[in-house]
Point group: C2
Chain length 306, copies 2
């Protein structure tokens, strides 16, 4: 398949973001390194359909499980899926590229994070999507403020309406209705950027690139600050229970997970988002006024962090 110039550039950008982030994460690890799995995709019509590079670091000193996936896939999208994405109800050629990451540290003092930046072409239409968000187990307000202020800085350079719009989008998307909680303290989430509104797609790729390269600055200072904070068994156990909520969100509600599983994506690359160790307990309780209760209250009432 002959790619559009923008498609080629986007794939290059996302690949370089993957390399940049993996190197930065490895710098926290004395010995653990990313394992690299290249994979090829077979299109539904049987032809080649692109592929990807899944990079997973397991059992580090700081990071229990970190996955950073790059992919660039193309082929024919069945009309039933195309229609859901605003395309026509007929088979359409598509191209999709992006990088997607989930980082689960061991320590309950270090938050989990997720990010994704992607570009999609569907028939005649093209758009960008993505975002990043933070899921702390113990809430340090300065961490939430730092994460959001880096995001706001990048957004404001491109369009002052982006941060407030996409911050709200994130709180709405990463929401567990059955728990009446957000998944974490948010970040930004955007989709269909450039599909329905007239914007410069080259500038939007640059937005994606700026966000991707700012990610390490957003997250790693928090890791550096919290990784040596001592914690108790009770705090570790609270993290394991909260990870259950992470799994509930990803399996019950996440559109990306459902889309990937239904379109025959690479299972192990999709489900690398799930934490290594998770607990569920019947009717867990938290003490009134405790940090655990404070976290839950915050997740039930999304806040402005900058």
């Amino acid at each position: 398949m002959k790619l559009s110039p923008l498609a080629e550039q986007a794939a290059e950008v996302y690949k370089s973001i993957q390399t940049h982030i993996c190197s930065a994460l490895e710098s926290f690890e004395p010995t653990a390194r990313f394992r690299n799995d290249e994979w090829q995709r077979t299109d539904s019509k049987g032809g080649t359909g692109g592929g990807g590079l899944t990079r997973i670091l397991s059992g580090g000193e700081v990071f229990e499980k970190a996955g950073v996936n790059f992919s660039a896939v193309h082929g024919t999208m069945p009309g039933s899926f195309a229609a859901k994405l605003g395309g026509p109800l007929e088979d359409v050629p598509f191209f999709a590229t992006g990088v997607s990451l989930v980082i689960h540290p061991y320590s309950p003092m270090v938050p989990t994070t997720h990010a994704n930046w992607r570009y999609l072409e569907l028939g005649e239409r093209a758009w960008f999507g993505g975002g990043s968000d933070l899921t702390p187990y113990y809430l340090f307000e300065e961490d939430a403020q730092h994460f959001h202020s880096v995001l706001k800085g990048v957004c404001d350079q491109h369009n002052p309406s982006y941060y407030p719009r996409f911050k709200k989008g994130c709180d709405e998307y990463f929401y567990l209705p059955h728990r009446k909680e957000t998944r974490g303290i948010g970040g930004i989430f955007y989709d269909y950027l450039g599909r329905d509104e007239k914007i410069d797609l080259d500038a939007t790729l640059q937005f994606s690139k700026d966000l991707g390269f700012a990610f390490t600055e957003q997250y790693l200072p928090i890791v550096a600050r919290r990784k040596d904070t001592p914690y108790t068994e009770k705090e570790k156990n609270f993290q394991l229970l909260r990870r259950g909520r992470y799994v509930e969100f990803n399996l019950l509600y996440d559109r990306g997970t459902h889309f990937g599983l239904q379109t025959g994506g690479r299972i192990e690359s999709i489900l690398m988002s799930l934490p290594a160790v998770v607990h569920w307990e019947y009717c867990p309780t938290v003490e009134p006024g405790s940090p655990e209760e404070q976290l839950i209250n915050t997740l039930m009432n999304p806040q402005d962090w900058v």
Copy 2:
């Protein structure tokens, strides 16, 4: 709400099944006992809507987490849900009662099991549903044969077509398409029994009752046989990974879980089905010819056990 005679009888039957099963499970535990939580439901119209009794045993010597829930709820079902169940696309009075259980033992040598028997009235229609199934981590053929042969015995007493039909229904329902595996080695699963085919509903309640009271005979001899079998850390770890598949099924595909969460059921009673401790690992492998590989092969190719 005035209940129909069959509704009242069904609720009594399911309550007695709950008592019977909980006592039998406790007989395996020197000290652990079921915790009993009675709850009331508020109907969507704000009135009383019945309630239930959730019974959970945690941290036993044999059973890490066992939940046996009884409920009898009624009210008005929104048309959007009623239509999915074959009712009209308008608000309809409904009544539902049943008992539902999930048992997760500690030992990887003792299988997990799930069962449910229920009765539903929706407007003018009424039907039964339910079944039970077994999820071993290490496969002992005699256990699978025992579980299925007790089931077949009960089915055959009522209708010789039941076991083959419902055994197939179970293999089809408890299936993870993304893994191309069944959840376990099956059992029986039936739904809408009496809704579309003319059968004696009293006899069908008796079928439900016979199944419910046969459950301990189906499962507990397996527990007795395997509970003291020694196991290695590697075998324990395989169980924790396989439990991940259990969670994937329940959150991605189980209609009962989705229905409960969407209709505002009691979250902790619904999600008691999730194991206490679960692991996910990126690209786990099994040795060729190992018992782990044998189990996976069996789950990919459902078998006849009797």
